[in-house]
């Protein structure tokens, strides 16, 4: 097994445990925003799409990479914005009770 693969596996295993641990006590209220937030985070594929797009040689690779960059950007930008719009609704609550 190559050192690179071993490093990748180490990061993968630790991140997997961490991912489960991080959200194990989330209230149902936040299920939707959390899904939406993590949805934006897997937009990290944009990093991969950019690396491919920046080094593509053939027309086919360029076409595939271009669509990948567009898709991943939509995932990242749309994902974070939609999550923010959802969470915006929660923020005013504490002081609202006084003057309502």
């Amino acid at each position: 097994m190559s050192q690179a693969l071993l490093n990748s596996i180490t990061v993968f295993v630790l991140a997997a445990f961490l991912g489960i641990e991080l959200i194990s006590r989330v209230p149902a209220l936040l299920h939707t925003p959390l899904m939406s937030g993590t949805n934006a985070i897997h937009g990290i594929v944009l990093v991969g799409a950019m690396l491919i797009a920046g080094s593509a040689d053939s027309t086919l690779e360029q076409a595939l990479a271009f669509v990948a960059v567009v898709f991943a950007t939509i995932n990242v930008v749309g994902g974070f914005l939609v999550t923010d719009r959802m969470l915006e609704m929660f923020k005013r609550r504490p002081d609202e009770e006084e003057h309502e």
């Binding site: 190559s2 693969l5 991140a15 997997a16 961490l18 991912g19 991080l22 959200i23 006590r25 989330v26 149902a28 936040l30 299920h31 939707t32 925003p33 959390l34 899904m35 993590t38 949805n39 934006a40 985070i41 897997h42 990290i44 594929v45 944009l46 990093v47 991969g48 799409a49 950019m50 690396l51 491919i52 797009a53 920046g54 080094s55 593509a56 040689d57 053939s58 086919l60 690779e61 360029q62 595939l64 990479a65 898709f71 950007t73 939509i74 990242v76 749309g78 994902g79 974070f80 914005l81 939609v82 999550t83 923010d84 719009r85 959802m86 609704m89 929660f90 005013r92 609202e96 009770e97």
Partner: protein, 468 residues
Amino acid sequence: MTLAVSQTTINLAYLAAGVCLIVGIKRLSSPSTARSGNVVAAVGMAIAVVFTLLSPEIDSYWLIVAGVAVGIVFGVASARMVKMTAMPQMVALFNGVGGGAAALIAAAEFHRLSPGAGHVLPEHMGAMLFSALIGSISFSGSMVAFGKLQELLPGRPLVFAGQQVVNGALFVALIGVGVLAGATEAGVWMVVILLGALLFGVLLVLPIGGADMPVVISLLNAFTGLAAASTGFVLENTALIIGGTLVGASGTLLTILMGRAMNRSLANVLFGAFGAPEAAAPGTAAGDGEAKSYREVSAEDAAVMLAYASRVVVVPGYGLAVAQAQHGVRELADLLEKRGVDVKYAIHPVAGRMPGHMNVLLAEANVPYPQLYDMEDINPEFPRTDVALVIGANDVTNPAAREDPESPLYGMPILNVDASANVVVLKRSMSPGFAGIDNDLFYRPNAAMLFGDAKDSVERLVAAVKAA
């Protein structure tokens, strides 16, 4: 490239980005810090993207700039313009394109790496095939979920005989093609995998009923995370592995938690065909053939019931959200409170289309937070409630879920509105709910129907309460 920095610097930046993503997810899982958590995660993403641009591996920028520009236009426009009620399908759409991106990366990398048999490292080959397979499934599955929630496709489960056998056979075939693709490194097999996986995603989600869609989207979200992590193995990129795996793992747990909130196991969601036509047929055919009768009530009569009640519980559902009736409901509740009526809101865990969806919509209408009650807290109150006002909610109030072991809803926790003295149901018509199942509640002697658009009906109630 003068801009380029060393790979070590980039990897350090990826580490910082990974920490931001972790802190972001942590903060997203608590109500008071959730919004800042989203921002922290976005900052982590920005760090990863900016340092990737400085990578020595990149020798041409025009494709990236063009792609990001197009993506920003679409992403910002759709995120800004979408109504709060359409959030769930928007999440499905964004998830789908993420999965599609992972599959396309795998395809492009396959084309670049495989001039002939035996040139690609087995781990890279395996990871590419995995990305292509899972990414495509997530793409097409999410698009079907989007179509169902957007009502471009019927929300009912679409099933045909032997579907599970077909799905199973297709999946086995895809694994076989994967082995062929790995052995021959021939592009044609990659194309077969991509197309076959697209078909599999469609077949996987079509038989699942609309009511289970949140769980499915969450599962596909986890899939996309794993596909992204897998591209990280291909490109030997830690940012991709960290980000993708965090989502894959937390998304899997979130899927299980959501299923638990709805009392549905994952296997049940995927293979149960919730509310399948054959299961729902006895309910819609009105049991033993005798026509069930329901009572209609005028807005004026309903308003009098509400105005002279001492305890009212409002049960908001998706119909309220679609009609944008939340502001009217708030006004109605204010009027009733001025008359000394005690008003509470009963929030089912999956009211709306997703857990937490209804809380967001009511918060938008400035409904005071302390008036919102969870299912566990409000259910004991119904026997002491004079009027339960059900606005556009259906399946979550169906007593069959508690009483009828034959019902496809049986076992799902519901709001026991039928225990209140009176139930007023605001609904467009007698048509069944999103799960495609008839609701026994409407035929109970203590229930009365007020037909019409939820917003109109609420406005008529407001006017009538003012006059009462």
